[in-house]
Structures are given as structure tokens and as C-alpha cells.
Amino acid sequence: MASIWEYANPRKFMATSAFVLPWIAGLAGVCLVVGLVWGFFFTPDDFRQGSTVKIIYIHVPSAIMAVNAWLMMLVASLIWVIRRHHVSALAAKAAAPVGMVFTLIALATGAIWGQPMWGTWWEWDPRLTSFLILFLFYLGYMALWEAIENPDSAADLTSVLCLVGSVFAVISRYALLFWNQGLHQGATLSLDREQNISNVFWYPLVISLAGFGFLFLALVLYRTQTEIRARRLKALIAQERMG
């Protein structure tokens, strides 16, 4: 498989992603439909939480993807800083809005799910609040991209912000645990525990997680193509201005 360093060349990335994108989008669609439909229609209610357990098929995957999106942006920023890999910087920029939307989904579903369980629309629970902070990090990151004119400088500065932001996001996560004991359920999908939740819920959950994962990948590839075209447009206009 071609190493990712070849994809520094935008033309090669565009060709390959154009070929791969329909498949990934299709996979995302299938997994999402199967996972959500299975979870929504064919799983029993939880004895304690009743039908609200069905929200798990969106809340958990979106929360996991929200964090993974930031990690992907962190890795892409590192690749940009170390190897001046233009496409990875644009991939980081493309992934930010998608990650932000996943964070919003996790927050919204968490709040709605919390209402019947905890009695209030918004509960200052450490895990839910750390997603609120993650949302602010996404806003800052995207705002910095928009604020800077020269694309290469923007890529450098946002990469530094992403690196520093990641450290503070982790610190905030543990600061919140210290700050308020929280009502959130334990880890639903931790790999070390032998049996997290009963299998009947587990399979649709993993499928919809795969669906969210593929959706994220498809959206990032698609948006990176757009970012590359936008950069090409900027280069052409700069060339025209030079006469």
C-alpha cells in the first residue's frame, strides 16, 4: 500500500480518495442503517432505563468519535509540523467541523438522556462537561484557521494550538473528575472488562460505532478534497495577481 508520504502530493491524494470515497460512504450508510435500525427496533428495553437505552446507539459512538476526531487532528498536525505534509494539515482543518458536530451530538443526546434519568436538562457531570470543553477547543481551533490569511502560517499556528490544546484537554478532563464526582455511568465499551453490557445491546452498538467511524472518514476525505481545491484556487488567484 502506498505509504502516506506519497499522499503529500495533492494530485495523488485526490485520485485515490476519489476512488475510495464512494465505498467508504456506502459502508458508512450501511453500518449506520443496520446499527441504528437494529438497535432501535429489535432490542428490548432496559429494566431500569426503559426505552431511553436506545439513545446509547448515538450517544456512545458520537462521544467516541468526537474524541478520536481531535486525536486524528493532533496526529495530522504533527505530520504537518514534522514533514510539511500539506494534505495532512488540510485534513486536520477538514476534520474540525466534523469533530465539532460529533461533540454537539454527544452533548445533545447526553443532555436529553439525562433529563429522565437525572431530572435536569443539564447536569454538571465531569464527562458531559469535558465534552463541553472539547467543543470550545474545536471552536477556537476553527476560528484560528479562519483568522489567518497565509495558509502555511495558518497550518503552523493551528498545529501548535492543537498540540497545546490537547495537553490542556487532558488536564481539564482530570480536573473535572476532581471537581465534581459525577453521575455518569462507567465505561460502556472498555476493552479490559470481560462483559460490559449484555450482548443483545452490544452488537448493534458496535455496528453503529463502525457506521459513525466510516461516516467520519468519508466526511473528512470529502472535505479535504474541498480544502485542496480551495488551496489550489488561492494559489491560482495569487498567481493571477502577480500578473
Binding site: L136, G140, I148, S153, D156, V164, S172, A175, L176, W179
Partner: protein
């Protein structure tokens, strides 16, 4: 480097209103709180630690965009970049100058304002300790944010959006420390954590700020 510090302090006193500006804001902010929350001393005493820390934090935030902006506009930043003084040193000195002109006065003024908000007596010691340990982190993070946005016209709002999320760990631990101190509980652990974050910031952030400055000076 000492020349940089003494000049910045001289400039702060002579031109920028220096010590007074952030103190004035802190005072105004603190006096406005009862207008919003109501004068019951019982309520004020409970929220005093958090409010005092928020006031100090916002006072630091306000004076951040002036850290590099003036030197950027009159070419001093370009000249210092070509001088033997490393940009990392410049960032550290700027953070120190910001702390001396903004952070330090807040630490000294805090007990007075604590009385205004009816902070319990046992809380004053913890308030000053947490401010003394926490405000250097606010200056270091703020200098990093200022370096990121120095090239951006009217970057002040963006600077706040970038810097405030980075202030959260310090705010959480410090406010917790003062709250527990005021309630007479054991408050040493959060204070040490505030100190830990500050040491981390002072060690790493000048390098990140210098990297951002180099990009902006390109």
C-alpha cells in the same frame, strides 16, 4: 534579557497605566457582583472564592493583547528577533512582565476584595496562596495566546476564545482550593495541583510562544 524586563516595566508604568488598570477592573468586577447576585452576605460568602478567581482571571485576560501588539507595530519585535536574545527568552520575559504588572497586584488586592464579598476569614490565606501560584500560569498561557494572534488585526476576541479554555484547569483547582479553605476543609491538594499546572506552563509555553512568533514574523 534584564534590559527587556526593565524596559517593559518602565513602559507599563509610564504609558500603559501599568498596575492600576487590572486592579481597577478587578475592583469594578467585584463590586458589580452583588448588584447581579443580590446583597445577602450568606450567598456572597459561598460564591466569593469563585467570583474572586474569575475576576483575577478576566483581569489577566484583558491586558493580554497588549503584550506583543505594541512591539509588533513599531518594529521592535523584528529587531529583537534578529538580536542575540532568543524568542523563547522574550516570551518568558514578556510573561514575567505581564505577571508583575497584572498578576502580582491582584494577589495583593485580593484579601481586600475578599472582605467586600464577605469571604470567610479562613479563606483569605488560601485565596492569596492560590492566586500567587495560579496567576503566573495565566500570564504564561496568555503570552502564548498573544503570540498566536499577534499578526491578526483585531485579534483580541479570538485571543480570548483561544485562551479561556486553557485557563480552565487552573480556575477549577484554584477555586476549589479557596472554597475548601474558606469552609475550613483540607485545601492543600488543589493548591499543589495549581502549582503543578503553573510549573508545567512556565516550562513549556515560552517555547510554544516562540514557535508561534517565528511563524508570525516570517
Amino acid at each position: 534579557m534584564i534590559a527587556l524586563l526593565s524596559r517593559d516595566l518602565a513602559l507599563a508604568i509610564r504609558a500603559g497605566g501599568g498596575f492600576g488598570l487590572s486592579l481597577a477592573f478587578f475592583l469594578i468586577f467585584t463590586t458589580m457582583v452583588p448588584f447581579g447576585v443580590g446583597p445577602e452576605t450568606g450567598v456572597l460568602a459561598v460564591i466569593a472564592p469563585g467570583i474572586l478567581w474569575l475576576g483575577a482571571l478576566l483581569a489577566c485576560l484583558l491586558s493580554l493583547d497588549r503584550i506583543f501588539q505594541l512591539d509588533w507595530e513599531d518594529g521592535t519585535l523584528d529587531l529583537i528577533a534578529t538580536s542575540p536574545v532568543p524568542l523563547e527568552g522574550l516570551a518568558a520575559i514578556k510573561a514575567l512582565a505581564h505577571w508583575i504588572t497584572t498578576g502580582l497586584p491582584l494577589v495583593l488586592a485580593a484579601p481586600v476584595l475578599g472582605v467586600l464579598l464577605n469571604l470567610p476569614a479562613s479563606g483569605h490565606g488560601w485565596l492569596m496562596a492560590s492566586l500567587a501560584l495560579g496567576t503566573p500560569a495565566l500570564s504564561a498561557i496568555g503570552t502564548f495566546g498573544a503570540a498566536l494572534t499577534v499578526g491578526i488585526k483585531r485579534g483580541g476576541l479570538l485571543l480570548s476564545l483561544l485562551v479561556l479554555p486553557l485557563y480552565m484547569p487552573t480556575l477549577i483547582f484554584a477555586a476549589l482550593c479557596v472554597t475548601r479553605g474558606a469552609a475550613g476543609q483540607e485545601a492543600l491538594t488543589p493548591l499543589l495541583l495549581v502549582g503543578g499546572i503553573t510549573l508545567g506552563c512556565l516550562a513549556v509555553l515560552p517555547f510554544a510562544a516562540a514557535a508561534a512568533l517565528r511563524v508570525n514574523l516570517r
